[in-house]
Amino acid sequence: MVTVLIAIILPFVCAALIPLLYRRLRRIAHLGWFVLSVPIILFLLLARHIPQIAAGKTFVHTYEWIPSFYINFTTYLDGLSMIFGLLITGVGSLVILYSIFYLSTKESLHHFYCYLLLFMGAMLGVVFSDNLMVLYMFWELTSVSSFLLIAFWHHRKASRAGARKAMTITVFGGLSMLAGFLMLYVASGTFSIREIIANVATISEHTLFVPALLLVLLGAFTKSAQFPFHIWLPDAMEAPTPVSAYLHSATMVKAGIYIVARFSPVFGGELLWFWLVSGTGLVTLFWGSFNAVRQTDLKALLAYSTVSQLGLIMSLFGLGSVGHYFGYADSSIIYTQASFVALFHLINHSTFKGALFMMVGIVDHEVGTRDIRRLGGLMALMPVTFTIAVIGGLSMAGLPPFNGFLSKEMFFTAVLAIRDVEAFSISDVGVLFPIIAWVASIFTFVYSMILIGKTFFGKLQPDKMDKKPHEAPIGMLISPLVLCTLVVGIFFFPNVLGHYILQPAMASIYPTFPSASELTPHIYAWHGINTELLMTFGVVIVGAILFKTLKSWKPLYRIFPQKYSFNAYYNSMITFGENSSEKFTNRYMTGNLTHYFVYIYAFFVALIAGFFIWSEAYAFNFAKDSAVESYELILIFVMMFAAVFMLFAKGRITAVLLNGVLGYSIAFFFVIFRAPDLALTQLVVESITTALFLLCFKYLPDLMPENSRKRVIWSNAIISIFVGATVTLIGLAVVHYDKFKPISLYFNDAYELAGGSNIVNTILGDFRALDTMLEVVVLLIAGLGVYTLTKLKPRKEEAEHENK
C-alpha cells in the first residue's frame, strides 16, 4: 500500500526540503504555494481509495523496522483512518491556502511551513500506524510540532507560555499513554492494534487491563483537551490563526478522539470506559460551552467552544461503547448510532469550526482586533465574512439548514436512548444525560449568537479599531467559503457522506458486528415532530432569551473566584515544581569545583570499591608478579615526589610542571612495559595539555593559599586517599579477576578477524569501533562546547530581548 507510505513520508521529505528551497523560492513566490501541493496531492491520493474502503476493503502493509523488538512500520488504512486522513489533508490544503494570504512574506515562513508539514506528517502517521510504538512516536511528534507552532511568534511572552503549557500537558498525557501501551503489550504480547483487537477476550482478563485503560484514556483526554486538562487549548490560541484552525480545532485535538474510537473495540465493553468517556465528555461539553459565553476574545470563545464540541464527540463515543457491552443484537444497534453521530459530528465540526476560525482570522487581520468589546457593526463593511460567520455560527448552534443541525438532533437521540439501557446502573442517572446535553446546547446557542451578534451587528466603533475595516482579499475568503459550501452541502446530502465515509469507519469501530450497513442509519433532516425537535425549539427560545438578557446574568461568572480555577492550580503546580527543583539543585550545584570533585569521587569510591568488596574480588597476591627492577623504583619515587610536592606548590607554573613530570613518567612506564602506542599517545597528550595550560594562565588569577576549614581539608584528604586506594586495589586485583571471561584471547586472531596486526588499532578501529566512533562525536561536541562558551557570549541587548 504505497499511498499510505507516501502520505506519511512526503510531508517529512518536503519539510526537509524547505530550508534548501526557501532561499530560491522566496523571490519567485510565497513559499505556501509550494507547500500547498503536498496536502492536495495526498488528499487526491487518499480520495482515490474511497470506493474501495467503502466496499469494506482495508489495506495493510508492513515494513520491518526493529523486528527484534516487534516494532514494525505497519501502515493500516481502514474507514476510521480514512476519515482522519481526509480531514488532515483536506483541511490542511484549505488552511495552507488561507495562510498564504494571512502571513506576509516578512514572517519567517520557512519555519512556519516546515513545522506545519512536520505536523501533517506526524498526524498522518498517528492515524495510519498500526504499531503502538510507531503511533506513540508520531503522537509525541504532533505535540512537538504543535509546541513549535504555538510559539511561532516566540518574541511574545504569552506565545511561549502557551506553548509550554500545551507541551507540558499533552506530553504528560503522551507519556502515560506510552505506559498504557506497554501494559497492553504485556497483556497481549503484541504491539499491533489489529491483533490486540482480535484477542480482546483474553486481554480483558489480564490484571493490567484496567490500568492500561486508564492510562490510554489519560493520553486521549489531555490531547483532546477534555476537562480538567482543557486549560491548554485556550492558551494555545496565541498561535497564528491558520494553526489554530488546523491543529487546535480540526486535527490535532481530534487525535485523542481517534484513540478513543480506535480502542473502543478493546476497552468498549468495560463499565469504567463507558462512565469515564461519556462522563468526562459531558462535563467537558457543559464546562466548555458555559465558559465560552464569558470570553471577550473571539479566538478564546472559539477555543472554549472547541473544548465543548470535543466533549460532545467524546461523550458520544462513550455512549456508543454500550453497543460493545451488549455485543451484536437487534436491540443494541440503536446504541451504536451514538458512535455514528460522533463520526458525523467530527466531520461537521471540522467544517464549521474551520470556517469560523478563518473568519475570526479575517476580522483580526482586517480590523486589527479580536475583542468583542471593540467590534461591532461590521456587517455592511465585510459582507462575505459576515456570510461565513452566519453559516458557521448557525451550524454550530445547531440550526437548519446546516450540518450542525443534523448531528445535534442525532446527538439528542443518542442521549435520549441511553435512558433505557438496562446496564451499568444507568437507569438511576440516565435522565441526567439529556439534561446536561440540553443545557450545554443552550449555552452553545448563546455563544454562537455572541460570535455573530457582537462582531457584525450593533454599532460600529471605528475609534476603537486599529485599522479601517474592509473586506478581506479574495484569497483569504476561498477556504472558509469552501468549508461553508460543505456545511450546507452536507445538510442536503448527508447520506452520501454516511454511506461512503462513515459506514466503513463504523466497521472499524464495531469489528465484531457482521455488517456495517446495518450500523449506518439513514440521516433525515425532517423526522416529524418528536422530542429531539422540541428540545431544539427549547434551545432556541431559552438561548435567545439568555442572549438578550446577557448583561443581567453575566456577573454570575464572577462568583467563581479566580484563585480556584484550573489555570491557577496549573500555575501554582508549575511554580512549585520550578521553585523546589531550583532549591534542590542549588543545594548541590554550588559552582565550586572542589564540591563537584567530591561528588564524583565519592560516587566512584562507593560504586567501584563497593562492588569489589561486595563481590569479594579484591583478593590479590604478589606471588606470580615479576620482580620490580631498580629503575622502576626510581621512576616510582620521582612520581611520588612530584605528586606530593604538587600539593604544596605556590605557583601555577610549578604545579603544571610537576603534573607534567607525572605524565611523562607514566609515558616512561609505558615504554618500559613495551606499550609504544600508549607511550606515544601519552607523550603527545602531555605536551598538548601543557601548552593548553600555559595558554590559560593569562586568564587565571594567581594561586591563593586556601583558607578552608580543617574539617573540609581532612575530609578532602580522606576522599583522595580512598580514591587512590581504590584505583590501586583495582590495579592489583584485576590481574586475578575471574568473574568474566578474558577477552584477550580474542585479539590473538586480530589479523584474521580485522586484517591488522597491531591489536591496539584493531581494537580501536574494528573490535570496539563503535566506542571510537562515539568518542569522536563526543570530542567534536566538547570542542564545539569550548568554542561556543568562549566565543558566543550573548550581548547585553540580546539578553534583555530574551526576557521580554
Binding site: 603527545v684 580485522a754 571510537t772
Partner: protein
C-alpha cells in the same frame, strides 16, 4: 613587551616538517605497527599548535586557511559515514573491509576501509584540538 623568539621560530621551521611527516607516517603505520588515526591526529595537531606558538594566528592562517571547526565536523562525518556506509552493502553497522591490491610502482599494497574511518578520527582530533586552543587564545 616584545619577546625574542628567533630561536623558537628557526627551530620551528625545521621541526614542524618533521612532526607533520611523523604524524602522517604514524597515521599510515597504524595498521600493523604503533600509530593510527588518534595518535597521528594528535601529532599533527601538536605540530600545528607549535606553529601557532611560534608565529601569530594571522600568519598561520594564511598558510593554512582552514576553519578547524569544519575540519572536525568533516572528520566526524567521515567516521560516522563509513559506519553507516556498510549498511548500503547489506552488512552490519561499522563493518570494515580490507584487501591487497597490486599497484604499479609500489607493488602489493593493502587497502582498507578502516583507513577512511581512521582518517575521520585523525581529522576530528586535529580539528578539535586546534579549535579549543585557538578559541581560548583568541578570547579577549
Amino acid at each position: 613587551m616584545k619577546i625574542n623568539d628567533v630561536i623558537l621560530r628557526t627551530v620551528t621551521k625545521a621541526v614542524v616538517f618533521i612532526i607533520l611527516t611523523l604524524g602522517v607516517y604514524l597515521f599510515f603505520a597504524g595498521h600493523h605497527a604503533p600509530g593510527g588515526g588518534f595518535i597521528g591526529g594528535l601529532v599533527l595537531a601538536s605540530g600545528i599548535v607549535l606553529l601557532y606558538l611560534a608565529y601569530d594566528i594571522e600568519t598561520v592562517h594564511k598558510g593554512m586557511p582552514f576553519d578547524f571547526k569544519k575540519v572536525a565536523a568533516l572528520g566526524v562525518l567521515l567516521a560516522t559515514g563509513t559506519a553507516v556506509g556498510s549498511l548500503f552493502f547489506d552488512a552490519p553497522f561499522l563493518t570494515q573491509v580490507s584487501n591487497y591490491v597490486e599497484v604499479p610502482i609500489f607493488g602489493k599494497m593493502g587497502f582498507s576501509t578502516v583507513t577512511i574511518f581512521e582518517a575521520g578520527v585523525a581529522l576530528t582530533v586535529v580539528g578539535v584540538v586546534v579549535t579549543i586552543i585557538l578559541s581560548i587564545s583568541e578570547d579577549e
